[in-house]
Symmetry: C2
Subunit: 230 residues, 2 copies
């Protein structure tokens, strides 16, 4: 039995959402994403209900939503566990991501406003400066709302695509990254690729934007594949 979870999960107090299900969902989501609850760890309803002083109903609902989000698996009569994605899972995710973000870039090329493109340029610039001070550092998205890919996912103006990327794929990808390494030394290459995607977007060239974004993600995928000999 793992140590008391609540002591690790405490967050400020902005979690006071309207209902306890949402609050629990947020708490558990961030706890999983931050690694406070590790992959493979079991989450059983009664224990969580006890620790948070609520009944099992909201816990149950939060867990079910985590399952739909793909962060936990729920096998019958065996409890729910945080997923511990395999390398194959990671690769599968990246293949789909290539398709989705490629389309997002294509659509964003015509859908993003000039103001959004300027903000995106600012993000790329800041990324370049951070890279200057820490050349070998990986590309970490310290702020979700100010991430390059998130901005494009929002800018494509396709609610289905935006929701899929932001609410399902990015959390899962973050989990995969925390398990397998990736993003080592690719910081500079990634930045250059971002710059080219941005240039295509500014030129409102959807065809090129899609190609460049897909190539960008495929590069990351191949960098990941290179970490395992075979």
């Amino acid at each position: 039995m793992p140590a008391n979870v609540s002591t690790r999960i405490v967050r400020p107090e902005s979690d006071r959402r309207a209902n306890q299900s949402d609050a629990l969902f947020d708490i558990l989501t961030s706890a999983i994403m931050a690694g406070r609850i590790r992959p493979g760890e079991k989450l059983n309803e009664p224990a969580l209900a006890d620790e948070f002083g609520v009944s099992r109903a909201p816990v149950r609902e939060a867990l079910r939503r985590l399952q739909e989000k793909g962060l936990v698996t729920h096998v019958a009569h065996q409890g729910v566990r945080v997923i511990s994605p395999t390398l194959e899972d990671f690769l599968s995710l990246l293949d789909v991501r290539e398709a989705l973000e490629g389309m997002a870039s294509r659509l964003a090329a015509t859908a993003m406003t000039d103001a959004e493109l300027e903000q995106l340029a600012t993000i790329v610039d800041r990324h370049g400066e951070d890279l200057h001070s820490n050349p070998e550092g990986p590309y970490v998205q310290n702020d979700f709302d100010n991430d390059f890919h998130v901005r494009i996912a929002v800018g494509c103006r396709n609610p289905v695509l935006t929701g899929l990327l932001c609410e399902q794929f990015y959390p899962r990808l973050k989990l995969c990254r925390s398990r397998h390494g990736l993003l080592k030394g690719r910081g500079f290459a990634a930045w250059k690729e971002h710059r080219r995607v941005l240039a295509a977007l500014v030129e409102r060239d959807g065809d090129v934007a899609e190609i460049l974004m897909r190539r960008h993600i495929r590069s990351a995928r191949e960098a990941l594949l290179a970490t395992v000999p075979s």
Copy 2:
């Protein structure tokens, strides 16, 4: 208040799943997809619980899962309603579908077995015969498991992609099609496009398979756009 729902929903009896949540989820899903519960119709928990002789807990869980699947919307204190997708929703869905099925075709070109390809050819042949007897008829997927697109979604060997397409997109697309027309007179053109995709798959040419599949879906999208003058 609509007429008693249970009288319309009765299905054989194979719904006797392990737990009542799953059974309800299946029943409601098929009821929505078959149009027995129409778009915009309200589904309130107590009524459904009464009609099926269960408590609100399984109903609640089934509805939540329907929401995650994108078949119903759940606005607070206003009940859950079956979605009545707008034309924009339909178009958004088709854009994402183009990206997803394009990637699925690319992967399937190398992942599908020879046996699977032969089965796929059989499906295309049968589609052609059906078309011969009813040339103007639309392309309807009478049998989910024997649908052209489903076979490719399964054949790509990417569980993320397969799940996304089969469990999220195809149900939603079917709902969209039942509301807006589409698929009128496009049966023959669609069949020809299917044939070409199949040919590319047989040649194990992922690049071409992706291009053809994307073009196929984009044709459907443009046919849909053509139905509305502006």
